[in-house]
C-alpha cells in the first residue's frame, strides 16, 4: 500500500511555472486528442450535452476518463507534466486546486468564449471564484428539500409545516410524535436531521455561516452553530441516539421500492432534490409531502453544491478545453438535454421534475418550457419546493483549505454523534483545527502570490 502510494508520488517534481502564460483565445480549429478526467455520460443530461459539444469541436478526439475525479491521480498527472486537458470536479475542491496552482484561472477563457457568468447561479460562481479569479465553469446545483410521509404526518395531526425547519420546537415535537419503537427498537424514525452533512444548513437557518465571506476565518464556535448542533443532535437523542437511527437508516432500501417513505418508517427529513426523482420512479404512490427547508422567518434556504469544469495547469490545448466547458454549460445545451430527459420520462409515464443546472437562464427556460405546472400532487409541490430552494441558496466560499475545513467540522459533529464530546467542546476544538488549517493555507498562498 505504502510502497504503491509512494511509487505514484516518487516521480513528482512540482509544477513550477509551467503554463503560466496561457492563451485561451487561440484561433483556428482545435484538433488532436483531448482528455477529460472525472466526467461520465451516465444519463441523457450528460450524453446530449457531450454529443453536442464534441460535434461542435469537430476534429478533436475527446477521450473521457469516466468516474468521479481521483484527486491524487489528477494532481500526480499535473505534477508529472502530463495532465488531462480538462477536469470535472466538485465545486468545493476548486479552492484547493487553485491555491496549489493545479488549475488555471479562467477569466480570459470566460472573456474569449463569451461566457456570461451573470447567467449562472450566484452561489455557484462564488464557489469557483478564488482570490478574485474564476477557476471553474459551474454546472448543476444541488439543493435540499423537506420530504415527509404525508400519512404519518396526518395520523399525528401534523403538516409539512411542522417539519420544514421553520420552527425548531415544532420539529422537535413532531419528531417525538412521529417516532415509534417496537420492543425497545426504533421502528419509525420521526425526523432525520441528516447530520453530519447538513450542519451548515441548520447553522445558516439560525443565521450563522461556518466560514467568513472572505474564506479566511472559521466561525465554527459561534453560539448559533453550537445551538444548531445541539438541536439537531437532540433529534437523534430523543430516538435512542444516533447509532440507533443510523443503524435503522442503513438497513433501508434507499433507492428501491422499499425506501423509508414508501414503507412508512420515516416521518420526515431534508434531502437533496435528486431524491425526488428516485421516489417518483421507485415508489410513485408513496404518500409524500414536500416543502422547502425554511428559516424561522419562513424563507426558503438551501446549502448549494455541484460540479465545475476546470482547466489544469499544463493542459496542451486550454483553448479547446475552455470551449468544451462553455459548450457543456451554455443554455442551449441544457435545454436540449432537458428536452431529452422530459421525452424519456414521458415515454415511461413519469413526471419530469426539472433539472437544476447551475445556469439560471437555462433553469428558467427549462421550467417555463418543459417542467409541468400542473403535475399531479405531491410531485407539483416537490417541483415548486425545489425551484424555491434553488432561488435561496448559500455556499461556503472557496478557500485553500477546503478539505481540512470540512474535515474539522465534520469530525466535530461525528465526535458528538459518537458520544465522545459535547457540542460546544467539539466545535471549539474544530474551530482551532480549522483556523490553523486556514491560516497555514492562506499564508502559503499569500507568500506565493
Amino acid at each position: 500500500m505504502v510502497v504503491a502510494a509512494l511509487a505514484l508520488t516518487g516521480c513528482a517534481q512540482g509544477t513550477g511555472d509551467e503554463g503560466a502564460d496561457v492563451d485561451f483565445s487561440a484561433d483556428g480549429s482545435p484538433s488532436g486528442e483531448r482528455s477529460v478526467m472525472g466526467f461520465g455520460t451516465g444519463d441523457e443530461i450528460g450524453e446530449v450535452r457531450y454529443d453536442r459539444a464534441t460535434q461542435d469541436l469537430e476534429g478533436v478526439d475527446v477521450r473521457l476518463a469516466e468516474g468521479e475525479l481521483d484527486i491524487q491521480a489528477f494532481l500526480s498527472a499535473v505534477a508529472s507534466g502530463n495532465p488531462p486537458d480538462l477536469v470535472y470536479a466538485n465545486r468545493d475542491q476548486i479552492g484547493t486546486f487553485a491555491s496549489r496552482d493545479a488549475i488555471l484561472p479562467l477569466d480570459e477563457c470566460v472573456d474569449a468564449e463569451g461566457v456570461d457568468l451573470d447567467a449562472f447561479v450566484d452561489t455557484a460562481v462564488e464557489q469557483v471564484t478564488f482570490d478574485g479569479s474564476v477557476y471553474g465553469i459551474p454546472e448543476f446545483n444541488q439543493v435540499q428539500v423537506t420530504m415527509a410521509n404525508a400519512d404519518l404526518l396526518s395520523a399525528a395531526g401534523l403538516t409539512v409545516d411542522d417539519v420544514n425547519g421553520s420552527d425548531r420546537d415544532a420539529v422537535t415535537a413532531a419528531n417525538e410524535a412521529l417516532m415509534r419503537t417496537a420492543g425497545g427498537t426504533l421502528s419509525v424514525i420521526g425526523f432525520d436531521s441528516k447530520l453530519p452533512e447538513f450542519l451548515p444548513l441548520w447553522a445558516k437557518a439560525a443565521g450563522a455561516d461556518l466560514l467568513s465571506e472572505d474564506g479566511r476565518t472559521a466561525q465554527l464556535d459561534a453560539p448559533e452553530v453550537v445551538e444548531a448542533l445541539e438541536w439537531a443532535v437532540g433529534i437523534y437523542d430523543a430516538q435512542g441516539g444516533f447509532p440507533a437511527v443510523k443503524t435503522y437508516r442503513d438497513s433501508a432500501d434507499f433507492f428501491g421500492a422499499g425506501n423509508q417513505f414508501a414503507t412508512g418508517v420515516l416521518g420526515a427529513m431534508p434531502m437533496e432534490q435528486w431524491y425526488i426523482n428516485v421516489l417518483n420512479e421507485s415508489s410513485p404512490d408513496a404518500p409524500m409531502a414536500f416543502d422547502a427547508v425554511r428559516t424561522p422567518g419562513g424563507d426558503a434556504i438551501a446549502f448549494a453544491s455541484g460540479s465545475a469544469w476546470a482547466v489544469p495547469r499544463g493542459s496542451e490545448n486550454p483553448a479547446a478545453a475552455c470551449r468544451f466547458a462553455r459548450l457543456m454549460t451554455e443554455t442551449d445545451a441544457w435545454v436540449q438535454a432537458a428536452q431529452a430527459r422530459a421525452d424519456a420520462r414521458a415515454q415511461d409515464g413519469l413526471v419530469f421534475t426539472g433539472v437544476l443546472t447551475g445556469n439560471e437562464e437555462a433553469d428558467e427556460q427549462i421550467r417555463a418550457d418543459l417542467v409541468p405546472d400542473d403535475a399531479p400532487q405531491p410531485w407539483q409541490d416537490a417541483i415548486d419546493a425545489m425551484y424555491e430552494a434553488n432561488d435561496a441558496t448559500f455556499a461556503l466560499p472557496a478557500n485553500p483549505a477546503d478539505n481540512e475545513f470540512e474535515t474539522a467540522w465534520q469530525d466535530a459533529v461525528n465526535r458528538v454523534l459518537n458520544g465522545q464530546q459535547e457540542p460546544a467542546d467539539a466545535l471549539a476544538q474544530a474551530q482551532d483545527e480549522a483556523q490553523q488549517a486556514l491560516d497555514d493555507a492562506w499564508a502559503r498562498w499569500d507568500e506565493e502570490d
Partner: protein
C-alpha cells in the same frame, strides 16, 4: 530438548601450536560458471529492475519526503524533523496506533486459533476433505471492499443476521457498526471470513506430522488434546509462526475492509474514530488532505512499529518454534 554439540572441525597442527585457519583464496570462476552467472542475472534482471523502480526507490524517496512539506503538486520543501515532531503532538496518531494495536492483539490470536481448529477438523475429514478445503478457501476470494460491505449487512445492529442469530438464544446484540465499543470486535469477527488461507497452510503442515509420533503418544496413553498440545502444535509451530507473523503485519496494515465500511462512499461524512487505523489515517493525510510529507512520516512510523514487533516475534520464536531437521 537437548542441545547437540557440533563436532569440532579438524585443525591443522603445525609444530604443536594452534594457528588461525588459513583462508583459502576463492578460485576464479571458470568461463562456464561466469556464463551461468551472467545468464542468471539476465533472467532475474526484470525483477531487479522492478524491485529498484517500484520498491527500493519509493521507499528511499518516502524517507526523504517524510522530511519535507509536500502537497503532491508543488516541489517538496525540506522541513527537517517537523513532521515527526507534529506526529508526537497529533492525537489522531496516538488514537490510530491504539486502534491498530487493539485490533491486532485481539485479531491475530483469534484468527490463528480458529484457523488451527478448522485445520484440525479438516485433517480428520477423509473423503470430503477436498470439498471442505475449497469451501473454506472460497471466501478468501471475496474482494476486501465487498467484505467491508458484508460487514455492514451482517452486523447491522437492527436487522443484521448476526444479531438475529444472537436473539435466538436470548441475547440482544449490540450496535456493531455504530457503537464505539463494538466496531473493532465487529472488524475482528469479519476478518475470520478470510481465515481459509491460513487453514490451508496449517492443514499442509498437519499433513507433514509423522504418524509414528501420534502412535507413540497413543501408546503412552495420550488423548486427543494431549496429542494436539504435545505433538501437533510443536510439530507445526513453524507454520503457526508464519501465520502469526504474516497476520500480525496484515493487522497493522488493516485498511480496505475498515475503510470501505466506515469511511467509504456510504459514509462520506459520517466517520467513527474507533475504526481509524494507522493506514487509514495515513491515507487520509496523504491522499485527501494532500499532506504527503506527513503521510510519509506516518508510513515510516508504522514501518518501525511493525519491524519492532516482528523482531520481538522472531526472538520469541527461537524458544517456541521448532523446525523439522533443526538441531538445538
Amino acid at each position: 530438548m537437548t542441545t547437540p554439540v557440533a563436532p569440532a572441525l579438524p585443525t591443522p597442527a603445525t609444530g604443536g601450536s594452534r594457528e588461525a585457519p588459513v583462508r583459502r583464496r576463492r578460485a576464479r570462476p571458470s568461463p562456464s560458471e561466469r556464463r551461468e552467472r551472467n545468464a542468471a542475472l539476465r533472467f532475474i534482471s526484470p525483477w531487479i529492475v522492478g524491485f529498484v523502480v517500484f520498491t527500493a526507490w519509493p521507499i528511499l524517496y518516502s524517507a526523504y519526503l517524510s522530511l519535507t512539506d509536500y502537497d503532491v503538486i508543488n516541489d517538496p520543501t525540506f522541513v527537517g524533523l517537523d513532521n515527526y515532531r507534529e506526529m508526537a503532538q497529533d492525537p489522531k496518531v496516538a488514537l490510530s496506533l491504539w486502534n491498530t494495536l487493539v485490533y491486532t492483539v485481539v485479531q491475530v490470536p483469534l484468527y490463528t486459533v480458529v484457523a488451527l481448529a478448522l485445520a484440525l477438523l479438516l485433517n480428520q475429514a477423509a473423503r470430503s476433505a477436498g470439498f471442505f478445503r475449497t469451501a473454506f478457501f472460497i471466501p478468501k476470494m471475496t474482494p476486501p471492499v465487498a467484505v467491508g460491505v458484508l460487514l455492514l449487512l451482517l452486523f447491522n445492529g437492527q436487522y443484521g443476521i448476526v444479531n438475529e442469530v444472537l436473539s435466538w438464544v436470548g441475547i440482544q446484540g449490540p450496535s456493531w457498526t455504530t457503537d464505539q465499543d463494538w466496531i473493532k470486535p465487529g472488524l475482528v469477527l469479519i476478518s475470520l471470513w478470510t481465515v481459509g488461507s491460513a487453514v490451508i497452510i496449517l492443514l499442509a503442515a498437519l499433513r507433514n506430522v509423522p504418524n509414528d509420533l501420534y502412535d507413540a503418544a497413543r501408546v503412552d496413553g495420550a488423548g486427543f488434546w494431549r496429542r494436539t498440545r504435545a505433538v501437533t502444535v510443536p510439530m507445526i509451530s513453524g507454520a503457526l509462526f508464519f501465520v502469526v507473523v504474516i497476520n500480525t503485519i496484515a493487522g497493522f496494515q488493516m485498511f480496505t475492509e475498515a475503510y470501505s465500511a466506515y469511511f467509504g462512499a456510504g459514509n462520506s461524512t459520517y466517520r467513527n474514530d474507533a475504526a481509524l487505523f494507522c493506514v487509514i489515517y495515513l491515507f487520509q493525510e496523504g491522499f485527501q488532505e494532500l499532506h504527503m510529507g506527513y503521510a510519509s512520516a506516518l508510513a515510516w512510523l508504522l514501518f518501525v512499529v511493525i519491524m519492532l514487533v516482528t523482531v520481538v516475534q522472531l526472538v520469541v520464536s527461537r524458544r517456541l518454534v521448532y523446525y523439522e531437521g533443526e538441531q538445538r
